[in-house]
């Protein structure tokens, strides 16, 4: 059964079957060919995997993002970022990083993020005169920031799959590592722009202009605070917070700063529904796959193998980091998370690790794996969209990757970087 499950999965991924379908197909094939379980466990787990009220935070985050974009609130963020840092050397590069920080990846798929906001700034960079490979590499690198900075769908899914952590705890735990990633990438961008003589920058706007674009961006900038504040204050659950964020976007877009028309709304709901379907199909299909892994005792044996190598918590973190990074090389972040969390979670108890620190490390590792040459999937997407040769892109991403690995090493070495902020708010998990 193990051979069928893992074999079909590996083969499916390799030949380019959609990730969600690959997991469902390998699960169905394993159940049918093995015969130990009735075939009806397949629809049962597909159903149970998404029969969850907390999971509904995901469609609402997606809806909130669509509303914000349709209302022009996302554009105000881009303009604000450009006014703020566009005039510095390597300006648009900084804008690229800042936008990823402000508009943290809402989709939960590093692949979709790379194709979304990052791709738009990449085109702007190319048009301004940056070389295509560097524009693409920077866009790939910034796509890893989204899942760390709250609100993050990956963190919601992590907290649902592992009872050791809460959504609020993980959201706050990601703040400092996310800022470190952003600052690190901006520093790298500054240095590279200086070295290569990128002089393109937009004109320095007058202070009044910056204040004006800040004022316009305020409604969009407030959104994460409403979500996180509401959850922390115990006012609403993450799912409700996400729904409130949608309502907030509608009120602002329709009434306060009109940018949204009533006739746009059907399209907004439809589009977010289609995106939701793609994301939750992965969650649904991953649950039969991950249940079978558990039945086959694969998580237990991997955890046992990792735990058997050493008794040092520090060394375990490094082994896990390498293992997760390798997984990130071949599979998108969301399915990888659903498969890996039950596999690795037990190590937290065994080695007395901080569960929030562990979670941040895993998410960071996965997203960095996605941009690691020569096989990181985000690189494929960027190379397709930007029509950049994979080899060229791979070389260009190396300095940025080094910066991210340094941040990762710091996050692993100093648990306080992840745990300090949530503990400040009295959250220990």
């Amino acid at each position: 059964m193990t051979v069928i499950l893992v074999g079909v999965f590996g083969l499916g991924l390799a030949v380019g079957l959609p990730v969600s379908i690959t997991m469902g197909l390998s699960g169905l094939a394993a159940v049918l060919l093995d015969g130990r379980f009735p075939a009806l466990v397949v629809p049962q787990y597909l159903y149970n995997g998404i029969n969850s009220f907390p999971l509904m935070a995901i469609p609402f985050f997606i809806l909130a993002a669509e509303i914000m974009t349709a209302a022009g609130m996302t554009a105000t963020l881009l303009r604000f970022a450009n006014d703020l840092v566009g005039h510095i050397r390597g300006g648009l590069g900084h804008v690229n990083v800042l936008v990823s920080m402000l508009f943290a990846g809402i989709s939960g798929s590093a692949l979709a993020d790379a194709a979304g906001p990052s791709a738009i700034v990449m085109r702007m960079m190319k048009r301004a005169g940056y070389d295509a490979a560097y524009s693409g590499a920077l866009s790939a690198a910034t796509a890893t920031i989204g899942p760390i900075i709250p609100p993050s769908i990956l963190m919601v899914v992590y907290a649902i799959s592992d009872s050791r952590v809460t959504v609020a705890g993980l959201f706050l735990a990601g703040v400092v590592p996310g800022i470190m990633l952003g600052v690190g990438l901006m520093a790298a961008n500054h240095w590279i722009s200086y070295k290569r003589g990128y002089v393109f920058r937009s004109e320095r706007p007058a202070l009044l202009e910056i204040i004006r674009s800040f004022w316009k961006a305020v409604p969009a900038l407030l959104l994460p605070f409403i979500i996180i504040g509401g959850i922390l204050g115990g006012i609403f659950t993450p799912t409700e917070a996400a729904a409130v964020a949608c309502a907030y976007g509608l009120v602002v877009g329709l009434m306060v700063k009109p940018g949204l028309k009533l006739r746009d709304l059907p399209d907004v709901f439809v589009r977010s529904g289609v995106v939701t379907a793609a994301v939750l199909l992965i969650v649904s299909m991953a649950s039969i796959f991950s249940w079978l892994l558990t039945i086959l005792q694969i998580p237990q044996s991997i955890a046992l193998a990792i735990g058997g190598v050493t008794t040092s918590p520090g060394l375990v973190l490094v082994i896990v980091a390498v293992f997760v990074l390798l997984c990130g090389l071949v599979i998108d972040t969301l399915p990888a998370l659903i498969i890996l969390v039950p596999v690795l979670g037990p190590l937290v108890d065994q080695f007395g690790l901080n569960p929030m620190h562990f979670a941040i490390m895993i998410v960071l590792n996965l997203t960095i794996g996605m941009i690691t040459p020569p096989v990181g999937p985000v690189l494929f997407v960027i190379s397709t969209i930007g029509r950049i040769r994979l080899e060229t892109l791979s070389r260009a991403v190396v300095p940025l990757l080094i910066v991210e690995l340094v941040v990762l090493a710091l996050v692993i070495a100093f648990p306080a970087l992840s745990t300090f902020v949530p503990e400040m708010f009295g959250l220990t998990h």
């Binding site: 959609p18 969600s20 998404i50 940018g259």
Partner: protein, 187 residues
């Protein structure tokens, strides 16, 4: 009838009437369900804080809607090329070989969803005699989302099969729209 639709859907050609009706109805269903889901959950927050009343059924009903959106929307997501896949291997093939290869993949996917429809129907029948926890409707109603979505997925894939073979949906689209383009124009 089916054959006509198939021919209409060759790359570059506009969709036929039947196909437009299918996509339009499907999209409308998804949109309405998303909207109802949102209204239910948000209304529950409002009534809880303003009137101190919580409506117990909203959590369950909205979760069922989410399950239906997921499966009914899967075929539309396919049409837009939103199911992320790693296409590296296919890129190494010659265009002709790639089309043959993708045709085979397409048939595998059709078989998978056909199987899912079959087992899904049996699962829904199995669940019909049980009641859900809060609303006490037959469990088969939410269970039915899986086979219904699977059948719809098969129909969508069959109607766009030539496009599937040619990977004719451009690149994965993310958050591109007018709002961003305005920001871009400013440069």
């Amino acid at each position: 009838m089916k054959k006509e639709v198939l021919q209409d859907a060759t790359p570059g050609k506009p969709a036929g009437k039947a196909e437009r009706l299918l996509v339009g109805t499907n999209r409308a269903a998804i949109g309405v369900m998303m909207a109802v889901m949102f209204v239910l959950v948000f209304a529950n927050v409002v009534t809880r804080y303003l009137f101190g009343v919580s409506i117990a059924t909203t959590d369950e009903v909205s979760t069922f809607l989410m399950i239906w959106v997921t499966y009914l929307g899967a075929g539309l997501a396919l049409r837009e090329g939103r199911h992320a896949a790693i296409d590296l291997f296919q890129d190494f093939l010659s265009p002709g070989a790639r089309r043959v290869f993708r045709a085979v993949l397409g048939v595998v996917i059709l078989m998978f969803f056909a199987a899912l429809a079959y087992y899904g129907v049996r699962f829904a029948i199995f669940g019909w005699s049980q009641e859900t926890a809060v609303t006490q409707i037959p469990k088969g109603i939410p269970y039915l989302a899986i086979p219904a979505g699977a059948i719809l997925f098969v129909v969508h894939l069959v109607t766009i099969f030539p496009r599937w073979i040619h990977r004719d949906w451009g690149t994965i689209t993310g958050l591109e729209d007018e709002g961003w383009r305005q920001g871009e124009e400013k440069q």
